[in-house]
Subunit: 553 residues, 2 copies
């Protein structure tokens, strides 16, 4: 699996999803093309999915938010007879590398979180209308929707058969959502997760696996009725017109470096690192949200977001050996802040809200990225507001102190804006500043007093905003030593360490999915009982069961 | 490593710890016998430890609570020059099976939790007095103490060098305690965990890695001074006399079954399961706590606790293939309840408190046991109070309904006591009933109305206290099918599934250690970069670094 995976797609390219717009309601059909797998060696039968199917789904979800403000309810359903969705494709999983499996699950989890949050963040509610078998990842997709409806016939059932059938976990949020979202009694959850055939009809409702069970003859009508009812309660705007998410301005160089209009991704393969430089805007902020809407996908705050998001996903999936991501910025901080302020001052405008919510999701994606992250605050940089937030996402940061010989750029300073105090919560429910100063919450209050005040290195260091402030004499050596050292560590130990250090404090359903559940799934994904030659994933479909070593660990 | 590991020990057998009693203060010296390893193939140099060292420590901690009510402060320190503790022995880890590594870490974690909780639960505070190098598991031991004192000299330092040196995690609570207990800033934590040599002197205090740094010349005096100060604030009783934890009455049969005075462990090797039957008391409850104290370790509630605890630990470490534990009870429920009630009615008596706190720890140990757990509520059983709590610890439960042919035992009933509503919280901070009914907290209130009311199968099932109520016709077949099915599943998938389903709802530092941190550590413990032929654990001490595959996962 060495092919470069592209996360950019659009409606004209979809092979697996169809969408029909009916005013406030969008009917979204999963209709996977068996021959449309991202890699060779498997067929996507029974609406099973691979990463390619999920890249399209993520695109659908994103466009529904930006291009279709009129849509208040999305009805997710199957375009096939007798099956809703059979989950992740087993042959694909059987053939995938460990790293691909882990990255695949992470991205699908992020997409499901984005579906789940659409109601609270954007007033766009997802109904899952289940007809036919809805198993494994299929039911996990349903679990991420806000309302699950199940038809009552002899074959339609919801199931999490991973444990009995495949010796792996329902790892795309399944186990966590049945306990934490559906709040199933744990002994019933134990029974449910042991049943290959799953649960159908009224028992599915009794066990709170679905929200409503409807006679088959009335199913389609009741689904559309519910969609209309929910649409009436939506906070989605009236008469708003969407913007089009146009293709990204993106160029790949031969060495793997990528350049976008505001984001530059520079690869240093021999040192196993990559530098992402974000450029500040070269024009003033739009005068109003009308002007912003006019610019559409070209507006700086949205363009930069889409470019950074694409860059992170590209590095995650396609550049496994670049273990360190270095973040830099260059530009006019006041101008950056003016662009962000337009959105912050118009949060009740649907499009401003969508852009801010999107930034929230991107920052969470960065938090979840298993690469060592470092920020270099150099002269001429513009770490303010949303870009300052990057400093609290990284594992450590270095800031230039005083003048540097031959460097005529403006002495660097960090500015906090109101957005650093609540606009972009982490998945643990706290702001990054709250998480950073868990031991001394008074510091966060003190920082709030410094709003929109440029803080040079001495102050930024004293306030705990950066890890190191270094002058011209130490800068290069210290950073070189750090980077060389980091490149010498075991990447696995770094991944596991960062997954623990980054998420101090409270846990939420989201952190439990990425922490507890994912870590256990990744463990299982290495066990011979699952992935060995005689393991369950290889044996699936051959008629023989996996051969297990029966020792408990 | 097929030797049977025995968790029973006592002061006369200690090889690695010394303890000196000085009134309210106990000076506990770690002085590991290099030649005293539990297995062959490694020497326990530099106060490094293996499971055998930790079994002694757990025994020390337990006896301090029961045998030494006069001890208010425990000073943990090294009996060796220049080294406090080098952590878990690396050669032992390098040679251990995956299952042993995982079980070793789990037990050491439980012992550290028990040390940490001694202050709140028993008024017994642990000071860690660090002189010399305190690295890895050594610093994790310090982190579990309530107060850390570090001497200020050129060699004494605290360190978590696992990531740079060994490509594994500080997995015995280390990463979690620095973020959640010591609330270190995450970027400083990142720096600290990358430093092989660790941090010494005032910086250790500045980073909150220790509570106090003291000049070397005054160190010993100040430590004893603090110990006295803390003793004055202790809630430990005055003039109480301890009881002796006498050797257990325990017999091993040839087939691996074990019988204790109140606990019977019956092995069914071909079916890969084991039945633990707990017998109710054969005498009335002691009339008072004086009478209880007179009986000492022979008192039913304490004897049963020690026997059950030993049985669980034995099964965990020595019987890896027995994947299903079946819990049964037989006895007079009213008598069981009378024994528990004596303790519940005398919670302010130090010994009653100790026994109840011990039960809390045992139930947590059961929650953390990676075996499928089931309870069978048969006629003649005594699932009341503390024994009813077992029903909410297991993954599922079956209860006999109505009369069974040829069964003259008393029709079974379950009784809840006040203890089920707060006495034995899980590690998530909730009671097992609260966790069970997370989706409908009103049920817990309704159950509170049924206190001390025997509930036969129909009622117990309707109230959600058991998973199944089965009559004579279905009982045997249903249970046989369940057990056969369970024995056919992958043990790894079960372990990971249960680790997710058992701990719904909130997370605490404790659940984060056993969930997030442990799951990641277990993952790392399978990665070639750590445990492969060229991995860091094998390369340690040979002068070469581990060879790493540099792909990030």
């Amino acid at each position: 699996m060495t092919k470069n995976i592209d996360f950019q797609t659009g409606p004209s390219k979809y092979r697996h999803w169809r969408i029909e717009y009916d005013g406030e309601i969008a009917n979204l059909y999963m209709d996977v093309d068996e021959q449309g797998g991202l890699f060779d060696g498997y067929e996507l039968k029974l609406n099973s999915y691979d990463l390619g199917v999920d890249i399209e789904l993520a695109d659908v979800v994103q466009r529904l938010r930006f291009e279709h403000p009129e849509v208040k309810t999305v009805v997710m359903q199957s375009g096939k007879e007798k099956v809703f969705c059979a989950g992740a494709n087993i042959r694909m999983l059987g053939g995938a590398t460990h790293a691909h499996k882990v990255n695949f699950c992470k991205f699908t989890n992020e997409t499901r979180n984005s579906i789940e949050a659409a109601e609270a963040d954007s007033g766009q509610m997802y109904i899952c209308a289940v007809k036919g078998s809805c198993a494994g990842g299929g039911y996990e997709l349903a679990l991420a929707c806000n309302y699950i409806m199940l038809t009552n016939d002899s074959t339609s059932a919801v199931a999490l058969p991973e444990v009995p059938l495949l010796a792996v976990l329902p790892g795309t949020g399944g186990l966590t959502r049945i306990t934490d979202k559906r709040k199933m009694r744990r002994d019933l959850a134990d029974v449910f997760c042991s049943l290959e055939e799953g649960v159908k009809g009224n028992r599915a409702k009794d066990w709170n696996l679905v929200d409503e069970v409807i006679p088959n003859s009335k199913f389609d009508a009741v689904v559309q009725e519910r969609a209309k009812e929910f649409a009436q309660k939506s906070t989605r705007p009236k008469d708003a017109i969407g913007i089009t998410l146009t293709p990204l301005d993106r160029k790949f160089a031969k060495d793997g470096s990528v350049s976008y209009s505001t984001v530059d991704v520079s690869v240093d393969r021999s040192n196993k690192r990559v530098t992402i430089t974000i450029s500040g805007p070269d024009t003033d902020a739009p005068a109003s949200m009308d002007a912003f809407q006019e610019q559409g996908a070209n507006a700086y705050m949205l363009r930069m977001a889409r470019e950074l998001d694409d860059a992170i996903l590209h590095l995650r999936l396609n550049e496994l050996e670049l273990g360190l991501i270095v973040f830099k910025t260059q530009g006019d901080p006041e101008r950056v802040q003016a662009h962000e302020d337009l959105l912050l001052n118009n949060k009740d405008h649907w499009l401003a809200n969508e852009v801010l919510q999107y930034w929230k999701r991107i920052l969470k994606r960065i938090d979840m990225t298993s690469r060592s992250l470092v920020a270099l605050v150099e002269h001429g940089s513009c770490f303010t507001g949303i870009l300052a937030e990057l400093l609290f996402s990284v594992d450590r940061s270095y800031m230039m102190e005083d003048e540097f010989e031959g460097d005529n750029r403006k002495i660097c300073a960090i500015s906090l804006s109101a957005s650093n105090f609540g606009q972009y919560p982490m998945s643990n429910g706290l702001t990054r500043l709250q998480t950073r100063f868990l031991g001394d919450p008074a510091i966060v209050d003190a920082l709030n007093e410094k709003l929109n005040t440029p803080l040079e290195a001495t102050d930024a260091y004293a306030l705990g905003l950066v890890t190191y402030a270094l002058d011209d004499i130490d800068w290069e050596d210290e950073i070189r030593i750090f980077m060389e050292e980091r490149a010498s560590f075991s990447p696995d130990a770094m991944t596991a360490m960062e997954a623990n250090l980054r998420f101090a404090g409270p846990e939420t359903m989201e952190t439990r999915i990425f922490g507890r559940l994912t870590a256990w799934q990744n463990w299982v994904f290495q066990r011979p009982n699952a992935v060995g030659e005689d393991g369950a994933l290889q044996s699936y479909g051959t008629g023989r069961r996996g051969k297990y070593n029966m020792e408990r660990v």
